[in-house]
């Protein structure tokens, strides 16, 4: 008997939840209403909106579903691999379109994040996915956000069409090394994944060049491309993961690399650890990723004093770096340059911007910093401010212990 829409929605959203990305930001602004509106339904406003949060703390911004969870690939880490006995289902093109529009009208979502298991062939699967995006955009004038996961080995012509409808394209690198991919996702070819990313970067750049005739820009995946790496399924250390991220950012202009702590899945492969997902490790990787992209840190700086190639789980990587480089502190908030202010544990990019603005008018003390939403308790060991000099706190041998979290009993799974 055919499963009801509700039953299939249950299966195909359960199957989609291991993809961490849910971003709906950073695309071109467009909308249906107003003087320049084109009618229809939907808008994108630059920054994304999280319409709900699940009890796992993750934002729900998009309707994140698979078109189908049947798959001819057998990737060990994946709930949908062909050797798994997980329940299978498939949506028709029309059903995905209907769900997206009806969810959108009720303001549950910003748009659609569509992925899929591979059925028949990569091209067949990608074609069906492109059809969904095309229907939404052309038949229904849908102006909300669309994120399409591209299928490995799909032909470049399909990717090119996908980029005309989608805000974002992504393809998951899955594991940080080629040998890891060969071991856990034997049917995926890392070189093809990189080639696909390279191709998308070229298409995005090409679309960004105004044409001579119209001076206008073509639209191709205006929210760029992203990827995801699974953390903790194979033995790759943080250094390997982060250097792969740096390569991907540099090579393909990715907006984001997502890290997904490997999480136990129903009917898991015997090849994989069934332990609690390494959430703290995932968190530290995101912090390091941020430091690389917004704070001027090199990946290798964050790992240089870590003999096992792993970030310190007990300290955030910026604090760990500061404790390993005490000679660079204290930093005078009234005179230090932006680069060094960004390296002070407790100063975010916004705080640094505020400091640079406020100190043009007067010398800043700890009170001023508190009003800039800085945690004075956290930063004061590392800074000099008007009326404040840390009393050689920075030299205390037990400084690290002041910041370490209180030990707690680890709970068993």
């Amino acid at each position: 008997m055919k499963k009801s829409l509700n039953e299939r929605l249950a299966i195909l959203s359960d199957a989609a939840k291991y993809d961490a990305s849910c971003a709906s930001s950073g695309t071109a602004k467009r909308h249906a209403g107003g003087p320049n509106g084109a009618g229809g339904l939907g808008s994108t406003e630059g920054s994304g909106i999280c319409h709900a949060y699940a009890p796992d703390g993750r934002c729900i911004s998009l309707l994140k579903i698979l078109m189908t969870n049947f798959c001819i690939f057998d990737c060990a880490y994946c709930i949908n691999r062909s050797s798994s006995n997980v329940e299978r289902a498939r949506f028709s093109v029309e059903e995905v379109v209907w769900l997206t529009l009806e969810f959108y009208r009720r303001n549950y979502i910003e748009g659609l994040f569509l992925s899929s298991g591979i059925i028949r062939s990569s091209d067949y699967t990608m074609e069906e996915m492109v059809r969904i995006a095309r229907e939404l955009r052309t038949t229904h004038s849908f102006r909300g956000y669309i994120h399409l996961k591209t299928i490995p080995e799909a032909s470049p012509a399909l990717i090119e069409e996908a980029g005309l409808y989608a805000d974002r394209l992504s393809i998951n690198i899955e594991l940080p090394t080629d040998t890891g991919i060969a071991a856990y996702a034997p049917e995926k070819r890392p070189s093809e994944i990189r080639r696909s990313m390279g191709n998308v970067r070229l298409l995005i750049e090409e679309a960004g060049e105004p044409t001579l005739k119209t001076k206008s820009r073509k639209r191709f995946a205006p929210a760029g491309q992203s990827t995801q790496m699974i953390v903790g399924a194979d033995a790759a250390d943080d250094g390997t993961i982060l250097s792969t991220s740096a390569r991907l950012y540099g090579s393909y202009g990715l907006r984001r690399v997502y890290y997904s702590a490997f999480s136990p899945i129903p009917d898991a492969s015997r090849a994989l650890p069934l332990v609690k997902p390494p959430l703290m490790r995932e968190h530290r990787l995101y912090q390091a990723d941020w430091l690389y992209r917004f704070y001027g840190f090199e990946m290798r700086e964050l790992l240089e004093r870590r003999p096992d190639g792993m970030l310190d789980l007990s300290l955030d990587p910026k604090l760990a770096w500061a404790l390993a480089h005490r000679e660079r502190f204290p930093v005078d908030v009234n005179t230090a340059d932006k680069e060094m202010l960004l390296r002070v544990p407790g100063f975010g990019t916004k705080a640094v911007k505020s400091i640079l603005s406020a100190r043009r008018l007067r010398r800043l003390g700890l009170d001023d910093l508190a009003r800039l939403h800085v945690s004075v308790k956290k930063v004061k060991s590392f800074i000099v401010a008007e009326g404040w000099t840390p009393h050689r706190l920075i030299d205390r041998p037990d400084l690290k212990s002041l910041f370490e979290p209180k030990p707690e009993q680890l709970s068993l799974l």
Binding site: I11, E45, A52, F103, R106, S121, G198, P264, L274
Partner: protein, 509 residues
Amino acid sequence: MAMTRIRITLEGVGALDEWRQAARGLIARAIPPEAVDWTSRRDATDLFADSKGLSGSAPLSTVQAATDAPRPQEAMPSFAVPRDFITLAEAVLCHSDPSRFDLLYRLLWRLRGQRDLLADVSDPEVARALALAKSVRRDAHKMTAFVRFKELAPDETGSDGNRRRFFAWFEPDHYIVARTAPFFERRFNDMDWIIATPKGTAAWNGERLSVTHDSHETVPRPNLTDDADGLWRTYFRNIFNPARLKVKAMQAEMPKKYWKNLPEAALIPELIAGAEARVREMAARAPTHPPAFHAGAGRKARENVVEGEAPPEGTIEALRSAAASCTRCPLHCNATQTVFGEGPDDAKVMVVGEQPGDQEDLAGRPFIGPAGRMFDKIAHEAGLARDVLYVTNAVKHFKYEPRGKRRLHKTPNAGEIRACRWWLTGEIAIVKPKLIVAMGATALTSVMNHTEKLADHRGRFTELGEGRTLYTTVHPSYLLRLPDEARRQEEIARFRADLAAVKEAQARL
């Protein structure tokens, strides 16, 4: 002298104009902030607002009517207010904090003497205003996130019976309905909707966006059910990963105060309560045997990789295809793809560069980036036609160092050159060029199979045996790197002369 106080009563539902008018009047009369009591009809805390307050709609006359107001010390020149302040005031006025009018007036008062006051973000009053504005922006953002529309039955009497109709009930902290309504108009343009709140109501009918600040008692609040809510709850239940329970993170972004109007929130307690058992159950379940279709899936997966006919042995196509999966050195792991040579397979002249760059790596073709374009241009000037040349590189994968959003070229080392020489030797054996042009030290080293100094060979022809000649010049990327313009022009001219020599030699072949 005891100061007489002035009371200004505003509607206080987030509009800028009423406050601006009142503040202008006060400023014009140089009335200091300490002398003004601001109240709002809407702030429940002020019981006297309606009976004793002066109308906000005529603030100028209000102030003038207050004959016992303090006399201005001096006439106040009018002054333009920075745009930043207006933006800030628009947000702060939406806040429900009763001190908002006074705070803004204090800032306005100080702005007269200190135009850059708002840049002093650590000033207590500036910081306070920024905090209020932030909380208004957050409230407005949460409204765009957490409004939930429910569909109403079609309106049979309406002029356009085809338009679908939706209703939402929302409870904001601040007076943000007017501020947020245009967002809903832009987004939900092809349907009619009403968003009712205790602080005002917004409605859109396809032509007009109307916002009223009537008290919510006057708004009908139908008790609606919508079947889509059931599907949404199914989605919410299944997108949740029980192995990653993080209740605090959820509540930080979706505080409980919003839950009562969210159809999905009713599920939260049971999802939290059942999470641990679900994870334990996943771990305990015995591994299963693959389903029947697994075997067929493997076959399909293999067929999925479309391999064309293998090109005949000994051709350049066969060599290119073999090189595509080269793992002779570790560079392949970091590069996008092998960038093989291009050009006629019987070319008399083969040009060898160093390695592909960023653009070549992405596109999979040699000599298309900035250095390749430089080569093309100078070759053209020297009369050398590109389409009769076979162009290739000594090393066929891009070696680089990531730096933020870019990749910095790194020179290949001797081991990498040696490993990749296998392919260059193969290309030379098949194409059988009479003349090889090595551009740069890496190409020279590879062709000679020996580390050579570029300066010793530059501009010279060297016999390689087997009727083959080597000519050496610089790599065009060297010309791109020269910072001094005069020097650069000099070197470009020299490169052009080198290529002219190649052209001459080509004519004799």
